[in-house]
Each structure stands twice: as structure tokens, then as C-alpha cells.
């Protein structure tokens, strides 16, 4: 990877952090409602994995902590922010909100609120890739807690039997809301759990983007090479509460401090400085340009965009232009036999 790519990656991660922190502020100003799950602290995982994937070509799917996955997959950040604002210009036209960002134009197939639901959906996307004979793969990002759903086991089995081109990325941040992994999960090393389905797997540091990229490269090569699914686990940590109302009372200050020291932005920034690719001044300039972009472009777009029209409440419930050949109604002749 050359220096300009490395600089770009650091800027991206800084951007993701600021994007999330700015949406936190907008939530406090009540511009954003509902639940808001932030990705701060876990940036290296989605950034590193998707850097090695072919975004726009491969399918990506995840849970409700989805803003950054959507953006790295190719969704325009201003549309993601507009969605958080509930605007008509948002990724889901204001209908979905934070937990349901979609951008099928770049094959980002959504954020889902139901824990574990994306497992089979991801395998289905992979089945479609295989069926169509393309070299696309499906990438599914989910948390550690999701692996306790039945869908995890059922999907792993089928993905393995059918050799589906799907990469399961487990972001193990040690907690499912307030429940620490060892209190809910018999085998805390998640990568071990898919051995039962004969799926190859591995566990890596999720805070160091270089480690993430190296691991993802191998995993993606396996999946794209037609060898079936791969399960990759990254150890990571969310810096904020589960959602907005969570104070993290269940975590020790010491644990938080240790993980904060391993902040993915800090780790990568230090490395680029050591390699003389960037100086402190460069990073400060980067921070400044990110903040300006977010304020002047993204937030402004979200603020100035129109709300959806209440008259359109029924829009998108079903196809608004169905072919009458399939829908009816019966002609008069048919009605009377």
C-alpha cells in the first residue's frame, strides 16, 4: 500500500469518528430520533475489511450499527446523515432511520434491527452470486452477541454445505448491550464456534487496520476463490454506550482505559508518523478538513433537505406501478365466468 492510500485511510477513519460524534450531537439537539448506535472505536474493522473487498460489486449487509459500513461500502455520507435526520433525501428516504440504512446502488443491502437476522440474508445474497456465476461475494458484519441466535447455527451449516461465497465478519466488542460475553456465551472465542460446521476461521486484532487488512485479504481470497464461506473474528471495543441512553455502568473504568489506549485512529496515526508519512501538523490539518466537510457539506445537506410528505405514507409499501397482467382486477367477462 502506498503512502497516499495510507493517508487516505487515516483520513477516512477520522472522518468516520467525526461523523459518528457529530450525529451524537445532532441526537442531543433532537434532530435525530429513535435509537442511534455509534461505531466509535471499531472503525478499523469495517474500514480495513471493506478496503480489501470490491465495494459496489460485492454485497455488504449488517445490523443496526450500520452508518460507517454503509459509507465505506459506497453510500454517500450526506445521504446517510440525511437519513438520520429522517429526510426525503436520505438513504432510505427518511423511512428507515439510523438502523435501516440501505443503498442498493452500491450493493449495501441494509442495516437490520433484529439481532441475527442478517446471517441468512447474507447467505442468500451469496447464493444469488453463486447462482448467477459472478465473482461477487457477500460480506456480513455482525456483533458477538448475534452468534447466540439460532440463525447463526442454521446459516453456518447451510453456507458450508452449499459452499456459499460469504464472508462472516464478527466484530467482537465483548458486550451485547450490558451483558459481557462470558456471561452469555459458552465459548468466548467466536472463531472456534464455526468449527462445528467445518468453516475455516481466524481471530485477529481489530484495532490495528494493517492487521485487519492482511487478515481480510486472505479471507476474501478464500471466499472469492470458490472455496466456500469464511468466518473472521476481530477483537474490538465500542467507545460509547450501546445506544444513546446507555451509560456503560456495567464496564470497568480500567477496561475502558486500556481499550482507549488501543484506539484504532491513534494506532494508525502513530504508525504513519513513525514512518514519516505524516506529521502532527498534517493530522491536525486532516482533522480540520474533515470537520469542515461534515459541517459545510454533510450537515448542511441534511438540515436543508425536505421532510418526506405525509401524503406519501403509503408509498413503498408495495410496488406503486404493478403490472396489471399480474395484479388484476379480473375483467368483467372473467368475473361472470
Amino acid at each position: 500500500m502506498n503512502a497516499s492510500d495510507q493517508k487516505r485511510l487515516l483520513r477516512e477513519m477520522i472522518f468516520y469518528r467525526r461523523f459518528e460524534e457529530r450525529s451524537f450531537e445532532a441526537y442531543m439537539e433532537r434532530k435525530i430520533g429513535g435509537f442511534l448506535h455509534l461505531y466509535s472505536g471499531q472503525e478499523a474493522v469495517a474500514t480495513g475489511v471493506l478496503e480489501m473487498a470490491r465495494c459496489g460489486h460485492d454485497y455488504v449487509i449488517t445490523g443496526y450499527r450500520d452508518h460507517i459500513h454503509a459509507i465505506k461500502a459506497g453510500a454517500p455520507p450526506r445521504e446517510v446523515m440525511a437519513e438520520l435526520y429522517g429526510k426525503e433525501t436520505g438513504s432510505s428516504r427518511g423511512r428507515g432511520g439510523s438502523m435501516h440504512i440501505f443503498d442498493p446502488t452500491v450493493n449495501f443491502m441494509g442495516g437490520y434491527a433484529l439481532v441475527g437476522q442478517p446471517f441468512p440474508l447474507a447467505a442468500g445474497l451469496a447464493l444469488a452470486c453463486k447462482h448467477k456465476g459472478t465473482d461477487q461475494i457477500a460480506i456480513c458484519f455482525l456483533g458477538d452477541g448475534a452468534n447466540n441466535q439460532g440463525t447463526f447455527h442454521e446459516t453456518m451449516n447451510m453456507a458450508s454445505v452449499w459452499k456459499l461465497p460469504v464472508l462472516f465478519v464478527c466484530e467482537n466488542n465483548l458486550y451485547a448491550i450490558g451483558t459481557r460475553i462470558d456471561r452469555s456465551t459458552a465459548v468466548t472465542d467466536q472463531y472456534k464456534r464455526v468449527a462445528a460446521y467445518d468453516i475455516p476461521s481466524s481471530q485477529h486484532d481489530g484495532q490495528d487496520i494493517d492487521v485487519v487488512m492482511a487478515a481480510a485479504t486472505n479471507a476474501i481470497a478464500h471466499v472469492r476463490g470458490g472455496k466456500g464461506p469464511y468466518f473472521i473474528e476481530f477483537m474490538t471495543y465500542r467507545q460509547r454506550g450501546h445506544s444513546m441512553s446507555d451509560s456503560n455502568a456495567y464496564r470497568s473504568k480500567e477496561e475502558e482505559r486500556l481499550w482507549l489506549e488501543r484506539d484504532p485512529l491513534k494506532i494508525y496515526g502513530e504508525r504513519l508518523k513513525k514512518a514519516k508519512i505524516l506529521t502532527d501538523k498534517d493530522i491536525a490539518a486532516m482533522e480540520k478538513s474533515v470537520l469542515e466537510e461534515i459541517e459545510n457539506d454533510i450537515i448542511r445537506f441534511a438540515e436543508e433537505s425536505p421532510e418526506p410528505r405525509v401524503e406519501d405514507l403509503n408509498k413503498y409499501c408495495l410496488d406503486d406501478k404493478p403490472d396489471p397482467r399480474w395484479i388484476g382486477p379480473l375483467t368483467q367477462g372473467e368475473q361472470h365466468g
Binding site: K87, G96, Y112, G145, A176, I177
Partner: protein, 326 residues
């Protein structure tokens, strides 16, 4: 008599039932160490320990199944499902097992579980967190389904549900946990069957359940200001439905509005209207009107969410229509 919040009422019922019977346990996600999403089990983990206040993994179908199995062997689990939307994952064990075990065993086995879960639309939680689904549970034989509208029923119905030998679904509401109301200091049980006239009236009956009772009460206030005496009937139980109370009220007022937060199709309102037609069709002076949610998944946008869900003015407008005053 003290005024307490809905969540405190649920907490008190848990506490009393756990103290009363060692076989009572509570299960659910984040209910123990974290104290529960709605604080309904706060402090109980410290008091009763991890063996009775059980933090479960995110495995709704199977921990509900474990609760059902335990109940067949004498344990009395109170299962919290964080949101009724997630209860859909537990439908296999709940509907295919709990609801049928007594029947298919010829009455030789039973499942005295309680499942508590909030339905309802609130706080812009969007499509996958906003379903009401009461109509789905109320159509399942073998279950009891109750909908406490305030702290007294939340407390007393939970206590009765724990003692009752049938599977009981208690549908709470995202917007009611902080609602306050009086609950007697002495131990009280509230029946799991029977509708309640929460406000007497003579000109029109407004029927609600769960949160929609409050919409009916607000509409009744406005109607009173217009000189109309509205009766408000809280169904309290959706299964079984109290047909007599519905008939008695309709025979008195001859006019009905049914307010449901759920969608109308194959819903609570359709059932109530069928009951009215079967019980007292000729008592009606006007066509009944249903007030209900729009027939769409709930949108995220605040204005659209509001538009999708009925409010007190919608109940008022429906009442005026039935009264022929529009």
C-alpha cells in the same frame, strides 16, 4: 395507597412473587446485572441471585422454550422479551408449544409461563421496533393475552399471571413505563379476564385496550366539553374477550368507536365488531367506526410516524362521525 410508575409496579409484582414462591424465576436479556431495559427488574438480581434472575443470551426462541420446559416441571418463569417485535422469534416455542401443550396432552401437562413484552410505536424507533402485534397473539387458542393500561393492572395482573396455570402474554407499551398511578400498599391481585368501564357514559362507547384507552379517555374529555357523555371501556384482556361487558355498554349507548394502535386488518376492532354483531346487532344506532394505524410498516420520520398512528383527535373525530355530528 401510593402513586408509582408503571415500571415500578411491574418491579414490585416481580419482587413479591419471587419472595412468595421459590419456584418463580425471571428470564430475559439484560434483566439481571443491567437491571432491565425498562428497569422492571432493577435490583432483583442483587436480591435473588443469578439462579433466579437469569440473564439470557440473545436467543429468544430457545430461552422461551427453556422457560416453557421449566414450567412443565414446576417452575414459574416470568420471561421478558425486550420488544414484542423480538417475540416473533419466539413464536415457534410460544405458539407451537406453550399454547398447545395442555390441549395436546389431554390436560395432563401445562405451561404456567408469563411472557411480558412491550408493543407499541414510540420514539421514532422505526419499522422493526414498532409493531403492536396484539392481534396475532389474541387469535391463538391456548394463550391468555392481557393489556394493562396503568400501574394498578400492570402490578395486579402480573401477580395473577404468575399464579395462573396457563401461559399468559402481558402486552405492555413503550410509552407507558413512566406513566404513574395509584396502587394499594397491601398485596392485590387483578383478574386476568374482564373488561372495565373506566369512565361511565350514556351517549357513545369508546373501546380501547393498552395505550389506546388513554386516547379514549382524552377524547371522552373533549366530548364532555361538547355535551356528549362517552363511556370508556378498557378491554384489559384480549383473550378471552369479555363479550358481556361489550354488549352491556352497547345496549346502553347504542354507538361504538373502537380505538386500536394496531393496523385494522384482521385486528382487534374487527373482532369487537363481530362480537357486537353477534351479541347485540339490533342495539346499534349507527355503524361502528374503527380508529387504527395506517396500513404500512411504521416509518422513521417523526411527522410520518405520527401520521401512521392514531391519536386522541382521531378518536374524537370518529366519535363525532358515529354521533352524526360531522
Amino acid at each position: 395507597m401510593a402513586e408509582i410508575a408503571y415500571w415500578e409496579a411491574i418491579r414490585r409484582a416481580h419482587d413479591e412473587e419471587l419472595a412468595h414462591d421459590h419456584m418463580v424465576i425471571a428470564m430475559g436479556e439484560d434483566i439481571g446485572v443491567a437491571g432491565g431495559t425498562y428497569k422492571a427488574t432493577s435490583g432483583l438480581y442483587q436480591k435473588y441471585g443469578a439462579a433466579r434472575i437469569i440473564d439470557t443470551p440473545i436467543s429468544e426462541n430457545s430461552y422461551t422454550g427453556i422457560g416453557i420446559g421449566a414450567s412443565m416441571a414446576g417452575v414459574r418463569p416470568i420471561i421478558e422479551i425486550m420488544s414484542i417485535n423480538f417475540a416473533l422469534l419466539a413464536l415457534d416455542t410460544l405458539i407451537n408449544a406453550a399454547a398447545k401443550i395442555r390441549y395436546m396432552s389431554g390436560g395432563r401437562a401445562s405451561c404456567p409461563i408469563v411472557m411480558r413484552t412491550p408493543g407499541g410505536t414510540a420514539h421514532q424507533l422505526a419499522a422493526q421496533h414498532s409493531a403492536r402485534l396484539a392481534r396475532m397473539f389474541m387469535s391463538t387458542p391456548g394463550l391468555r393475552v392481557v393489556t394493562p393500561r396503568g400501574p394498578l393492572d400492570a402490578y395486579g395482573m402480573l401477580k395473577s399471571a404468575v399464579r395462573c396455570n396457563d401461559p399468559v402474554i402481558i402486552i405492555e407499551h413503550e410509552s407507558m413505563y413512566n406513566m404513574r398511578g395509584e396502587v394499594p400498599d397491601e398485596e392485590t391481585f387483578r383478574p386476568l379476564e374482564g373488561a372495565e368501564v373506566v369512565r361511565g357514559g350514556t351517549d357513545i362507547t369508546l373501546i380501547g385496550y393498552n395505550y389506546s384507552v388513554h386516547l379514549c379517555l382524552a377524547a371522552a374529555d373533549k366530548l364532555a366539553a361538547m355535551g356528549v357523555s362517552a363511556e370508556v371501556l378498557d378491554l384489559r384482556a384480549l383473550r378471552p374477550i369479555d363479550r358481556d361487558s361489550i354488549r352491556r355498554s352497547v345496549e346502553k349507548t347504542h354507538k361504538v368507536v373502537i380505538a386500536e394502535e394496531d393496523e385494522a386488518t384482521v385486528g382487534v376492532g374487527s373482532e369487537i365488531i363481530s362480537v357486537i354483531i353477534e351479541e347485540c346487532f339490533f342495539a346499534l344506532d349507527a355503524q361502528p367506526v374503527r380508529v387504527h394505524a395506517a396500513d404500512v410498516p411504521v416509518p422513521y420520520n417523526r411527522q410520518m410516524e405520527k401520521a401512521a398512528i392514531p391519536n386522541a383527535d382521531d378518536v374524537l373525530a370518529a366519535a363525532l362521525k358515529v354521533l352524526g355530528r360531522v
